[in-house]
């Protein structure tokens, strides 16, 4: 080193002044960070770029245009598909959380020494692949499926219900089953963290079981509920396997349209615009749900 003089430390740039603890933290994070950068942020930026271009057969016209967004937002077919996707994912996440809460509550409060066993049992359906589980629902919901045969056998209906399979309802039922565990676990964790003496305090201060649940248990398990809701809501909007297999024409969702644009239709820019639009709207819907739940809790107590 030719230069040996000492520089006052204050003049060093900020990133050189990090203390060793911070440096270690950044080093620990960097592999994940680089991975995310390369395989998540990069592709998303690429999709954003595509959405402003035009495809002419095999080449892309790189002039900036909002035409794709116009199509995505105004064409009735895409609007309907998007609305249906949002509706399905909203219903699925809501119903999943409503089903999951009592299960999580039971395991946390009454599971006793069998808690681990019960949680383990819940994961059993996940030992088979996602496709297989969807196919299993096909067998249950089909025209001559388990449900229809059973209903006829019991004399509740005299001919098979046709609306069971290949409908939005079929998609909703299948998705609720598929995502149940992902909703149970966050709620279970938030209930486990709940200090039981808080419940005794609420009782001691005069609350019966229902008021106590609404004023203490529910608000304090809200992080778990919100987590469960988002975990289910966000991926289900973009699901295309389930609608393809059990949705029929009436149960198609926006992701199926996006898949077609990137595949058969070969219109990547439109597919990208649809993707970005969906992402934005899902973000808004998720944010709105969180706000509504939060204010609900505030109002209840």
């Amino acid at each position: 080193m030719p230069f040996a003089g000492t520089r006052p430390p204050a003049r060093r740039p900020r990133w050189k002044r990090l203390d060793p603890e911070e440096v270690r933290g950044i080093r620990l994070l960097s592999p994940t960070f680089l991975y995310t950068l390369a395989f998540l942020v990069g592709p998303v930026l690429l999709v954003v770029a595509y959405s402003f271009w035009t495809q002419t057969y095999l080449t892309f016209d790189h002039t900036f245009t909002l035409e794709n967004y116009r199509v995505a937002l105004t064409e009735p077919i895409y609007r309907d598909l998007l609305m249906r996707s949002l509706y399905i994912s909203f219903i699925v996440s809501l119903v999943t959380v409503i089903f999951a809460y009592p299960i999580a509550y039971y395991i946390s409060f009454h599971g006793g020494s069998r808690k681990s066993l019960l949680l383990f049992l819940i994961t059993i359906p996940f030992w088979t692949g996602y496709l297989l589980r969807v196919m299993a629902w096909k067998v249950i919901l089909g025209y001559k499926g388990v449900l229809n045969t059973g209903l006829i056998g019991l004399g509740i209906v005299d001919k098979p219900l046709e609306s069971l399979l290949f409908s939005s309802t079929a998609v909703i039922i299948t998705l609720i089953h598929a995502w149940a565990v992902f909703a149970i676990l966050p709620i279970y964790v938030s209930l486990e963290k709940l200090d039981r003496s808080l419940l005794e305090a609420a009782t001691d201060l005069g609350d019966g079981p229902v008021r106590r649940f609404l004023r203490v248990t529910l608000p304090l398990s809200m992080p778990g509920i919100i987590g469960a809701l988002l975990i289910v809501m966000i991926p289900t909007v973009g699901d295309f396997v389930t609608p393809k297999l059990v949705g029929g024409t009436e149960g198609q969702m926006i992701a199926n349209a996006i898949q077609i644009q990137f595949g058969k239709a070969s219109n990547w820019p439109l597919g990208s615009a649809l993707t970005i639009t969906t992402m934005m709207i899902v973000t808004l819907m998720a944010g709105a749900s969180v706000l509504v739940l939060r204010s609900l809790v505030r109002w209840m107590r």
Binding site: D195, E200, A201, L205, G206, R301
Partner: protein, 368 residues
């Protein structure tokens, strides 16, 4: 059972034949107790003695196996915790983390459907009482341990319970703060006039705060009385040992009459001591005890009417006092002597011969 509170005051809590079992384990074995209105009553005992179980039964958490609890003349059997005239200060304070101080204190009032001004007035009054008036908007996680404790107190007091139950409320605080809170708790109780039941394993806390103390061992009440009474006249070795230090000396019963015993003890000679509560003749042997601070070191030529001599075999320095361990010829165990340090007890060398003065009235006979 000895009741030192005047007969004029009425009993607030009447417990009779109370038992509680968890499976095969008997946590409470037939407890009978009366607590007077406005009394500061402590349940003192080592961990696992059943004191917390008893407190929880009073609050309505859990059902007794047998026996009854009556509060203010009303039988509490089968009445859930949310409909009892009691409120509790939990050991962990159980402050609702999703609410601020005011909302915590006002929690129980919401159900009473008071008008808004009255509710706020009562919350403010309770907060002022525990000197938290300025912190109403603070969230639970922004409070120190002492402040959380005050919130828990205010939250219970604002309900104006007939009985306030305190489950080791000071055990989580450091020593200085604990001593300060003890004084405040005592003043608070006198100011509000509510019956307080305090569970504690800290003997000094129980002695300093209470009108009366019940000492519990193994699910049973061993002794009930004023702090002074149980400290000076413990009924058994166990009580004496749990409540401060005690020197035990074997003695032989020479004579017995209705209220007192005449005893022969090595070193102390012939002494008379009142019969302990619940005394039952169990042969001629009995234990005699004397508190370490009731033995006094005799300096140089000092003389006393009653004295014994021995040799210092160990010395412990505690700052304000020194404890000397003195071996007395003919005694099975050495005597502990606590002497304040004003006269230089901390300078007495180990190994020196020493004479100790005692007051024969300080000797107590105890059941085993």
């Amino acid at each position: 059972m000895l009741d030192t509170v005047s007969a004029a005051s009425k009993p607030m809590i009447e417990i009779s034949g109370l038992r509680k079992s968890f499976g095969n384990f008997e946590a409470l074995k037939s407890i009978s107790l009366n607590v007077q209105e406005g009394e500061f009553f402590s349940l003192l005992g080592p961990s696992g003695c059943g004191k917390t179980t008893l407190l929880r039964l009073l609050a309505g958490f859990g059902e007794q196996t047998a026996g009854t609890i009556a509060i203010d003349g009303q039988d509490m059997t089968g009445r859930p915790a949310n409909r009892r005239p009691t409120n509790m200060v939990f050991q962990s304070y159980a402050i609702f983390p999703h609410m601020n101080v005011e909302e915590n204190v006002g929690y129980g009032l919401k159900r009473l459907k008071l008008d808004r001004q009255e509710e706020q007035r009562r919350v403010r009054e309770a907060l002022d009482r525990v000197e938290l008036g300025a912190l109403g908007k603070r969230r639970a996680n922004e409070l120190s341990g002492g402040q959380r404790q005050r919130v828990a107190l205010a939250r219970a007091l604002v309900m104006r319970p007939k009985v306030l139950l305190l489950d080791e409320p000071l055990s989580a605080l450091d020593k200085k703060l604990r001593e300060q809170m003890q004084v405040e708790l005592r003043h608070l109780q006198k100011a509000v006039g509510i019956t307080f039941i305090l569970v504690t394993h800290d003997q000094y806390e129980a002695l300093a705060l209470s009108d009366r103390v019940a000492i519990m061992f193994d699910g049973q009440v061993a002794q009930v009385g004023t702090p002074k009474d149980i400290y000076q006249n413990p009924v058994s070795r166990k009580v004496a040992d749990f409540l401060g230090g005690m020197n035990f000396v074997d003695a032989e019963i020479a004579e017995e009459n209705g209220v007192s015993l005449t005893l022969d003890a090595a070193g102390f000679g012939r002494v008379r001591a009142p019969k302990p509560q619940g005394y039952q003749s169990m042969g001629r042997q009995i234990t005699l005890g004397i508190r370490p601070e009731r033995l006094r070191v005799l300096w140089d030529d000092d003389q006393a009417e009653h004295q014994i001599g021995g040799q210092v075999i160990d010395r412990h320095y505690f700052g304000e006092v020194t404890q000397l361990i003195v071996e007395i010829p003919g005694f099975k165990a050495p005597l502990a002597v606590t002497e304040t340090n004003d006269f230089g007890a901390d300078d007495i060398p180990v190994g020196s011969a020493i004479r100790l003065a005692y007051d024969p009235d300080a000797l107590v006979a105890m059941n085993d």
